[in-house]
Subunit: 297 residues, 6 copies
């Protein structure tokens, strides 16, 4: 009987009255996940032109191609940023037109950073090509390295994060987290020529600072020692200086922990205090026990 | 030549005769992955109303909105459960109409649990907000925390698991596993206010029992010590009591292993026997070797 | 003003002149990600017929069903392989028709391996059913085990890898990496009855050799000790012999490292040299420190 | 240059300032064509259940199937009617909630007419089956007679027209006009057992009144003699009494023109004044000239 | 209240009990409109290869392209024909496997006619190019003449009609009727080099017989004089011999009416008896009244 | 057997060798129907902004909205025009870059006409509002009058026709022909404030010239007397001067036929020679025979 569905509907709606926080019923819309995914896809095709296209990209028509994509992203991003700002300002009395103006300005400021992001993307591609013996070509890196996509989207999200736009940067990076298993908080500051290999399980926290030419493998955590809410505004995550390599499964924790330049951190190493530059850090070898399964050791 | 394709077709079809088990040619259809994904998406939008919508959700039309979604899910779920039951009963001689009646009853019983699941979802959101210093708002948690989505879908799949419906609960949780890297078996019993941060690589086994206010980080395994098929029906996975926190990469194994309440398990710790309540468990610090890369130690 | 967009467009296009490598503007198209995903999906439905279908697959029409899918894949794969070969040959002066002929031959050679791959898929399904106490049926394994999908697609990608086709095999496996968190390089040689449970974070390197009846859990790395570019063409990853089980989080590194048959590698173990057959390898137990959180130990 | 696009954009936007009427920039949204098409499709599948489905419609699940479709249509229609009312009231100061309440009431009143419309649809199907020697079965009529679809949608649109809802009824009938070439104004009153054969070019004006068992062929116009705007509110189109047949290409004009019952109007006849009942009206036969093409007559 | 929807649902379901004929609830599925549209689209792309493609059709891959499309159509058409046969046989006790075998045979017989249909399509294209001064090229005819598409689909539907397959041929032609306004019954026999210009409103009845090189303009009806159900199995529609041209709006009625070869029928002429060969038939000229609008004649 | 499909494939491919003209196998691609439909849809939403949108169109973001649509259309149109030019030039030796430059110039010239087309669209809307007593508002006209859409798309196609671009203008108008039953050749010259009511079956030939304030009803033909191929380049269709109204079913033929200004042409009138200005032309009244069906006259 549909009457039962009606009953369940009424029961569910009753839970709307008492429970604030997981209904979004009134007020302005929140940013749309699908729009943000579309924006990311379009911006990636500006940064790596010709790699996602089905048709040959003619140089003749290049400025229209890039221009159209920019304008399309611009328009969508303005709308999403505008929602995001309205959400942020909801207790204040800003007028809609003020929000729209701010959204428009922030969008332009963001789009202007794309040339720099393209510069960095090239360096990231080169870092992957250099860092992985299995990589055969730039094309292979661009088409099949999840770490490259994660860092490229992060570089965009980080620009929006710096502009103090809520929700959108996190939604961007979380989209990549779901695609790649690489979880970078948009707050993290990451230098040039960054390479994440394999990447599944990598976690890079909000206040992490990473230098240039850093290489990170799957399962690495750059995390916080403390998870006290009241310390949300201080540096909780480590600093990684230039030319550091961190092998798979290593964990580096703490806002005052710093890994000095040129250091290599071995797999599975657990670090909670600073390491001087030029170090080699690794777990004791041969810690395991080896027995014959059938009794004889 | 298409003749070659014909030859390959004949060769493949020959393999159908001798190999049972990976063809599904006769008998009733199996549950459809796409339908199950659609059902999940609809149910999530009932639990978190207004977060997946592109249009503002007017309170005026709320009962139609929820009612329509419920009825849509109800209808799809009945069809999928009916397939699932037919599959389960295939050797017995139940009539189709009996299966449909059972499917219909199970679907209602399931939908009635949604109000409770909404209650728990609110508590899970609050747990995330409290547990992660980087979380700024409930909206951010709902829009971008994969752990929240994983536990919410798990709570639904677990209800179906308890009803002894085959295939569907596993397909639900596996869908979330693919999206989030968090692998929870639908059999796991998980209490209120559960929070998984980052989450990639988390594995929670079928007979795990978890209390309230438990917090789990990326890469945590709650697994079995034995993988003997004949022990499939006994408790193989650990019990985690209330207020336990388990940091990244920790592994807790065994059906009789119990982690006492208020305990904190440090990162990468490997546990195969019970821990008393109020404990702090962590690996020995500074186990690594630190050398200068260029020879000097 | 759209003038600003125009300015940004011009700025971005300027970066095309100086930066080779991340534009793909001239020359032939690269393989299309979407086509490759479609090919994978179709081939999977040939290997596991009736599992992805919405309609009952009638035996009467089976040869048309399989034939149509084969011809569809054949045609798409030829086109993608043709692009891939053109890309590989771009500096040489091969004619288009020569490339097409080669693409056509390679496609047939590949499709002929599908019967063997179906044989292996059945054995992989049986290995999962046997290896996981939670697995209830072959149907459950096929519908919800990510490790099965990863190994099945790998077996196809590996055939293309052996034919020296660039880009496509990596794109195939990377698609599965994104879906499952399991990162297998298409170069890896993997024997019959392979089972990966849970799988998130598994990494299997290009020159890995794996025997029959091997079982691997989440977070296992079969990796290289050295990442020197000049060693790209030597064996850099380990050999795993028959009947080996490797528990979660274990790391096995190095091209000369070999794990002897029947060996069990415990969770989180870190191995960089060979292990004799019939071994049981595990970390020292109880390495952790256990304190009462409130001061008393 | 994108500058040129910018210039054209500016030029187009300038035309917004001076030209009212073809911009819809401010104020509430208008009804969405796509939503209205979706509503029509859903309602048609309620009226002719099982004809648009890909899956067998089980009687067991029938009430959920119909209920879900009703609720889905209900929700969409409320939203579209609400937009339509806001549009109608835009100069008055009705509050949104008042509009929503009215939309909700009108939607229910409309949905309650569906049982009657189903009754009439059955009679219309039977009229087609009886009226066309080429019709083999009810199934054939429902699946392939455009006239049936046109009259069915008209019967729905007419109910909305009677409720004085602007835009939506016209959009509904115009959708069918585009599909079938049959242009019925939603204002037309049409009795039971109506059959339009072939239908292309049929035009039935707003104030037409048609009795029962009327049959109309392609190219028939039931139109107005006068098109003076100031006569918009008087009856401008003819009355067709019961059991009338009108053959292809006939034109009947004028609000006081009435075709008496049982009358047959021949093809291409042009009528501007009333015809008594039981008439047979046809053009003079053999009006054409017949010559031999090559000179001899 | 959803209760009201429940009430309406119950009321609608009540109408299912008493009204046979417009519910399709039990028994086998009917042919699917969407599948039939897809089949038509695929077959058209076999007949006019390279015109609907986005990518260049390489001769090298041609046999795969055509083969894949044939096999795809073959498989879909078999399924639809099988449903159609089951529908036809529903009172008889034919077994499913018998139906499937018949469907399979009919599908092959049909596909074998495609080469002939391609021959005729070329002649139809040439007829259009020759017959319309505005036609510039074969490409223009294929890309933009609705009459060509209508006759091409008719030639396919007619083959299925001759095989006594119910529903599908009518659904095919009705799809084209909706696209083009040209309503050809699949029973009509139409010779080579047929050209319909503009075409809107053309109706060609079931038992029409048309010779070669016939040209027909918009609004032409080739219809029946009588619409008595009991005459369904006799020839009700006219015969048009070779080289006849019929201008717009002409109506030719009756099963014994024959238009002799080389005849030209003028616009709007109404014919109900046979016309000898080599005739020119036209309405009396200047039948209209011409007045000055402002009183003076 | 798939062998039979192979045989049919071979038979069809054989027909490729001998039959030129209905294969498009080599040479450049032809314009894509789908792209042209998308371009039309986008351009219509520039001309009638806010009518096809689901979201409210904010004035703040208007220039981005229009700019993005323009750039999107610009890019697609350039590509389609480029294909069209290559097709036209296929026997000459123009270089690709020359074609692209020409395509680019033509696209701009076309887009610059959009402001004028918007001016004319407003006048066409007003003509419909004035000309049809049933029209209630501009919104109703824009949302539901097929004649308005037909003339608007024609005005765009005509601009491309004047630039001597092959195929595309015909494909545009034919798309509207299929949607509306109104067949306007892109060559026709049509003045301001043009209104087609109902429209099904209207045909307007290539060399027709129509003045301002002309009103046309369904089934009107403005056609040619002669269809000799060698007269393709002379004026074959009539001239309609300002303020003329042509009622349904009227036919006006011949390149020297001119309908003087202010004239009204009655329904079904057939005209092949010029009519002076200020005329009223209609068929003799009461030409039909009226009998009692049952014998008495």
């Amino acid at each position: 009987m549909i009457k039962e569905i009606d009953q369940i509907t009424q029961d569910i709606i009753k839970t709307f009255k008492v429970k604030e926080g997981i209904n979004h019923l009134s007020g302005p819309n929140l940013p749309s996940r699908q729009s943000i995914i579309n924006i990311i896809t379009t911006l990636e095709s500006i940064i790596f032109p010709g790699f996602q296209e089905n048709e040959i990209l003619e140089e003749e028509f290049l400025s229209y191609n890039i221009g159209e994509k920019l304008l399309r992203s611009c328009q969508s991003l303005m709308a999403e940023i505008s929602k995001s700002i309205r959400y942020r300002n909801q207790e204040n009395s800003n007028e809609q037109s003020q929000n729209d103006e701010e959204a428009s300005q922030l969008t332009f400021d963001f789009l202007k950073t794309l040339t720099t992001i393209r510069d960095m993307a090239l360096k990231d591609v080169n870092a992957a090509l250099k860092g992985d013996p299995a990589a055969r070509s730039r094309e292979e890196v661009i088409l099949s390295y999840p770490g490259l996509e994660a860092i490229t989207v992060h570089r965009m999200a980080h620009e929006l994060y710096k502009m103090n736009i809520p929700l959108i940067p996190r939604m961007m990076n979380e989209h990549l987290h779901r695609k790649t298993g690489i979880d970078i908080h948009p707050g993290a500051q990451i230098g040039e020529s960054f390479f994440i290999d394999h990447g599944t399980g990598v976690v890079i926290g909000e206040t992490t600072v990473i230098g240039c030419n850093v290489k990170v493998y799957q399962g690495v955590t750059l995390g916080a020692l403390s998870v006290k809410k009241e310390e949300a505004n201080i540096k909780r995550h480590p600093t990684i200086e230039d030319n550091v390599t961190i092998y798979s499964g290593a964990t580096i924790l703490g806002g005052t922990t710093s890994i000095g330049q040129n250091t290599v951190i071995g797999g599975n190493v657990w670090i909670t205090s600073s390491i001087p530059k030029d170090s080699l850090v690794y777990n004791r070898p041969a810690e395991y026990i080896l027995k014959n399964r059938y009794g004889q050791q």
